[in-house]
Symmetry: C2
Subunit: 271 residues, 2 copies
């Protein structure tokens, strides 16, 4: 077929996935997931689906009826609203109260989970670093921060300290995590690196041109492991500061890769 | 971005098109339209959308609300039902009573047309053959046949003779065409090549392993032009017979190419 000669990536048999968001042009999931599907030799593609906020509740159930659609990713502003369309919520999603993925089970039901935090755990795992028994300081208890806190909580750190400029938000998250993770000392309060093994930034401070650090920092102990969830720039002011003191750093892009990988596992696992 | 390195064909900016059908795995539109979009340097993709018959009426309006969706192609069994979702029907579609495409206008409204017959006219045009003033015999007045008859009617042949095993169906189509094309002698009756310039087959006879001719034929005049809408095999028994007598033949694949080209024009033309 001369017409199809240069197109080997979509056909009537291709399984369909989508990312639902508003706006949609900036999302990176289409090329990232589609590349991951190819790497795993699956005939599948993930396309952008631009659903407007007023249409979301009517549109979602219909999208989920497409017989060749196997999964949806959700981004801003739909991670909370999408929960309503899940037949089953995963353990991370139940605690976070938001999802970023719906995957079709073998029986046709839609299960949901949030991988924002799992991507962070996966990034550390790929570096050979576990959270078990560690003393962790997390900056930021918003959308990304709470997902990261939940994922780390399930890894049984010895302590998890939360800071947010909105102290009430940090307190509420700490209370929820303490209830779900007996044996983990979860507290909310001022940012510190005293007695901390792993410092994580989940605030937007340091993004793009922002030269600030997300907390006041002087010299750092070499053993401190420092992570920043920010993707752009890759080397945030916090990570640059940590490198100066010889600390191990883990970058936002590693979390993103970890997330794509875990989400693809989720999509392609028959359950 | 290492992840996206091997995927340059879908991103958040890619405009979306779909083909809606049931079943869906056999359709060729995804690779054919997507290749045509690439050839025209458009960042667009056409994906299969498997909508089940019970879901069609609820699903369609929601699909049409996707803000990055610019067009839909319809195949079996939806060419009639899809009419209900068009704000405007093209002149071919009004007469055929079916559509195979919905395209988003610049003002957001959905216009519809059927290109099944226009593809046939386009295939002839590319061969430098017009229907104007010609005497045409068309075999088959079903879905494909009626679309072809309508498209040819608008080309002002001198006569258009229709045959169908269901004579009532042929009569009804002839009456409709006669009303719409004053000056064209449209009749329904037995198949013949007496005084015919162009013979077209739009029946399924000769498809795949079927060795039959769609009408009884002996020796053919060399000047007769013979067309078969069947795509598989490319050389149908009818076309093989015509070649034996030195006739010019036009194959189903040329009609398909003509259709893809005209439909892509339709999708990409701002109106």
């Amino acid at each position: 077929m001369e017409y199809a000669a240069d197109v080997d990536y979509v056909s009537g048999k291709t399984r369909l996935y989508g990312i639902v968001g508003h706006p949609i042009e900036q999302v990176r999931s289409p090329e990232m997931f589609t590349a991951e599907f190819r790497r795993r030799q699956r005939d599948a593609i993930l396309v952008p689906l631009h659903v407007l906020p007023d249409d979301f509740d009517a549109c979602l159930p219909q999208l989920l009826k497409l017989a060749n659609l196997d999964g949806l990713v959700f981004t801003i502003p739909y991670k909370l609203r999408a929960c309503a369309f899940a037949a089953e919520l995963g353990e991370q999603a139940r605690l976070v109260g938001a999802i970023n993925v719906l995957g079709r089970r073998a029986d046709g039901r839609w299960r949901a989970e949030i991988f924002d935090g799992l991507g962070c755990v996966e990034a550390f795992r790929r570096r050979g670093i576990g959270f078990r028994g560690k003393r962790v300081m997390l900056l930021g208890a918003g959308g990304a921060g709470s997902a990261i806190a939940v994922a780390i909580g399930f890894q049984r750190p010895s302590s998890l300290q939360l800071f947010d400029v909105d102290n009430e938000r940090a307190q509420a998250l700490a209370a929820k995590l303490a209830g779900a993770n007996a044996g983990v000392a979860v507290t909310a309060g001022a940012p510190t690196i005293d007695g901390i093994d792993i410092l994580l930034n989940a605030t937007p401070i340091g993004m793009l041109g922002d030269a600030r650090l997300p907390m006041a920092l002087g010299a750092l102990p070499r053993e401190l492991i420092v992570f920043d969830a920010i993707v752009k720039p890759e080397r945030t002011p916090l990570l640059a500061h940590a490198e100066r003191y010889g600390c191990t750093t883990v970058v936002g892009r590693e979390m993103m890769r970890g997330q794509i990988s875990r989400m693809t596992d989720y999509f392609l696992t028959e359950v």
